[in-house]
């Protein structure tokens, strides 16, 4: 091969490789973990910024102003006046009490029954998969649909719960019960808590079941060798090993339960006498029925510092090592 030929061949080779070079550079660039990492985070970041951070920022600006729907141009910055006015409002104070009662009772019930259900599902049962599928149904169904079903079950005329109870009551010769599930303050609160528990139970059960299946069998064997009873095994092995999962599930559930809207809105509209109003139903009433966006946003954000404290506390518990 002539030298000249070799030079032209090199040029040709260069010409062929030139267009490829930027690709290789990009590939090299993407090989760097810090670049690729941020790039992969970007869609999620944009999603969160658009759908969470932006509305959150808007809500903050609303709650610090006297904005009214349709009269946005007249809105003025009023500092913390909305919050001060809420703290002097009997309905809001009642709502805070209701929300705390509702959340505490519902999350406690979900945690206790969810754990029991998870322990049961962890056993070798017949039709295990079918049972697990059925357990998930309340969680999978649209909440509004479930709430409508429960409304019918609590109905003063057609309540299947009252009807069933009365079958037993009549058997022992007592007069039939007339239970006003949604008309008495304490019973109405218990009723909405029961519905929330029913809907949220599968979330606890299935997540805790996953946690249970991650506990090494050797720990139970070692405990048995040490003469541990089933109670000992539960309190000294199962519960400590489940603690991180349990803490996270309780955290998520607390946030969901605090923000619940559908159940109360469909079942009681906050009644009777405001004894079931929650933050979300009150915020809806203020923002959409009286168009007071400022105070509606203030009600929604009132729970934010409380939830932040809770997040901080629960995450600390979850990370604690014994």
């Amino acid at each position: 091969m002539a030298p000249g030929d070799s030079g032209s061949a090199q040029k040709e080779a260069l010409a062929v490789t030139l267009p490829v070079r930027p690709r290789r550079r990009l590939a090299d660039y993407l090989q760097q973990e810090h670049v690729l990492g941020y790039l992969l985070l970007l869609p999620a970041f944009l999603w969160l910024a658009g759908l969470v951070a932006y509305p959150f920022g808007m809500a903050i600006s609303y709650c610090l102003s006297n904005i009214v729907v349709g009269r946005e141009q007249d809105a003025k910055f009023i500092g913390l006046d909305n919050f001060i006015s809420l703290l002097n409002n009997e309905l809001f104070i009642q709502t805070v009490k209701n929300s705390l009662t509702f959340t505490f009772c519902a999350v406690t019930l979900k945690a206790v029954f969810g754990l029991l259900l998870a322990l049961l599902l962890n056993k070798d049962l017949q039709f295990k998969r079918l049972i697990r599928g059925c357990v998930l149904l309340p969680w999978v169904m649209p909440v509004a649909l479930s709430a409508l079903g429960w409304k019918w079950m609590y109905d003063s005329l057609y309540s299947v719960i009252t009807w069933t109870l009365n079958r037993f009551v009549l058997l022992i010769g007592l007069p039939p019960l007339e239970i006003n599930w949604l008309g008495q303050p304490k019973l109405a609160m218990a009723s909405v808590i029961a519905v929330n528990t029913w809907i949220g139970l599968p979330f606890f059960a299935i997540t805790l079941l996953a946690g249970l299946q991650g506990i090494p069998e050797e720990l139970y064997e070692a405990a048995e060798v040490d003469g541990a009873t089933p109670w000992h095994k539960f309190f000294l092995v199962t519960l400590p090993m489940l603690r991180p999962v349990l803490a996270i599930v309780i955290l998520f559930s607390t946030i969901f339960t605090f923000a619940d809207f559908n159940i109360v809105y469909i079942l009681t509209q906050g009644g009777p006498m405001n004894y079931t109003h929650l933050f979300a139903t009150l915020a809806n009433m203020l923002a959409f029925q009286t168009l007071d966006l400022g105070r509606g946003a203030a009600v929604s954000l009132f729970m934010f510092p409380l939830l932040m404290l809770l997040v901080f506390f629960i995450l600390r518990v979850a990370r604690r090592e014994y």
């Binding site: 109905d155 003063s156 005329l157 006003n180 509209q269 009644g271 009777p272 006498m273 405001n274 007071d292």
Partner: protein
């Protein structure tokens, strides 16, 4: 350079055209079309499309919605535009209106009722040019006029109002050999007997819009009121309210069962349709539902004129109107539609289709045959002179909206039932209402 022969397209294939020929042909066609458009100085068809959109709550009488939809379509064809009529559940309308007002975008024509006309008054286009001729020609009743004439302007075109007559299950009254009541006191006396017979009477004392409406009617009959005529001065703490409250609690204790404390708006409908209840207040939807479903109970249901009290006969209503957003891009088109709709042959055809559920706010159409054909509906148009909007003798303002949204009136009654003294409950209602006036923007 060796050339490769392009393979021939199979016979009959459209791919026989070369790329160059295809580009030349389509380019020429596009150019010609573009030149044609420029020469005609008309925008292409897609840019001319106008769309009129209307939004309303779903009626409890679905054929009424269907007829309104047909009229919207008919207008669309006539005006050379596309037209759409959307209906949503009543509870979804307030947030939808709020969202559209905030975004300054949405439907052109929207269904507003009672205080929502007032609440959105600054975003609603004055309809004086549409409504004045209609008012002169067909005469709008006083109630709807008071509701939608805000600050001297028509902020919505009155569409219909709802009558809330007494709904009775006649057989229970016959069995008890009772006469139908004309006053609240007569109802109380009859209700005692009916309850003993296992057929109590019932109206909501709960967080439901019906509870707000019905009890306010009773309050007016006893001479009480929530606001003075200025719509701002709180007037609920009065001896008349005390008299009303004593009566309401006695009516509950003697004639009703505790289930009324948990009812939603449909609770009294179920109560009557179950055959248990003997009396309630409601629009004629209970009867119409039963008649439409051909239930035997329909024969036993009937309607009676509203009750009276020491201060006369008063009844509640919901005035519904059609508002036009100020930010609508089709204001003139929407106004044309309203003129088209409020005409003989159109408006009355819609009233007929609604089966007597929707009362005409226009005197001209108030004696529609739909109420003459069915004797059980015949009394409904006669309710017109007795109806008032919530907040009467004031107007349904933002304070009234907040008062109703907080269910102050039913809660005041519920508090006494739960054990508070009437005076304490009235003072609570007064303090709450004063706070509403102070804080509502």
């Amino acid at each position: 350079m060796a050339t490769t022969k392009r393979p021939k397209a199979p016979h009959g294939s459209t791919t026989g055209m070369t790329r160059r020929r295809f580009l030349a042909t389509t380019g020429a066609a596009a150019g010609a079309a573009g030149m044609g458009w420029l020469a005609g100085r008309k925008p292409p068809a897609y840019a001319q499309t106008r769309e009129l959109t209307a939004l309303a709550m779903s009626l409890f009488a679905p054929p009424g919605d269907a007829r309104f939809g047909e009229l919207v379509q008919e207008f669309g064809k006539q005006a050379g535009c596309t037209a759409r009529f959307d209906t949503i559940a009543v509870v979804q309308v307030p947030p939808k209106l709020a969202a559209e007002a905030t975004q300054q975008a949405g439907h052109d024509i929207v269904n507003v009722w009672e205080a929502y006309g007032y609440l959105h008054r600054e975003n609603l286009e004055p309809l004086d040019d549409v409504m004045e001729p209609i008012n002169s020609k067909f005469k709008v009743f006083a109630g709807p006029k008071e509701c939608f004439q805000i600050d001297g302007h028509w902020k919505a075109a009155p569409w219909y109002w709802l009558a809330f007559p007494q709904n009775v299950y006649e057989r229970h009254w016959r069995d008890a050999k009772l006469e139908f009541p004309k006053t609240w006191a007569e109802l109380h006396a009859a209700g005692k007997v009916l309850k003993k017979n296992g057929h109590p009477i019932g109206i909501q004392i709960s967080h439901s819009t019906d509870a707000n409406a019905f009890w306010q009617a009773c309050l007016w009959c006893y001479g009480g009121k929530v606001f003075e005529a200025d719509s701002k001065t709180v007037a609920i703490n009065s001896p008349k309210t005390k008299e009303f409250l004593d009566f309401a609690v006695a009516l509950y204790n003697d004639c009703m069962t505790p289930e009324v404390l948990s009812w939603d708006d449909a609770g009294n409908n179920r109560f009557i349709l179950s055959g248990k209840g003997s009396w309630t207040l409601n629009p004629p939807s209970i009867y119409l539902t039963a008649a439409r479903a051909k239930l035997p109970i329909a024969k036993e249901l009937n309607h009676l004129p509203c009750l009276g009290g020491p201060a006369g006969r008063h009844n509640t209503t919901y005035n519904h109107g059609l508002g036009l957003w100020k930010f609508s891009k089709n204001k003139e088109l929407a106004k044309e539609f309203l003129k088209f709709f409020y005409a003989e042959g159109k408006f009355d055809s819609w009233v007929t289709a609604a089966g007597g559920f929707c009362m005409s706010p226009l005197e001209k159409f108030a004696d529609n045959d739909v109420w003459k054909k069915d004797p059980k509906l015949a009394m409904l148009p006669g309710e017109g002179p007795f109806i008032h909007s919530s907040g009467w003798p004031g107007k349904p303002t933002q304070y009234v909206a907040a008062f109703d949204a907080q269910f102050v009136l039913p809660d005041m009654i519920a508090k006494v039932i739960a054990g508070d003294t009437p005076q304490k409950a009235i003072e609570w209602a007064e303090a709450t209402t004063v706070k509403i006036v102070k804080e509502t923007r």
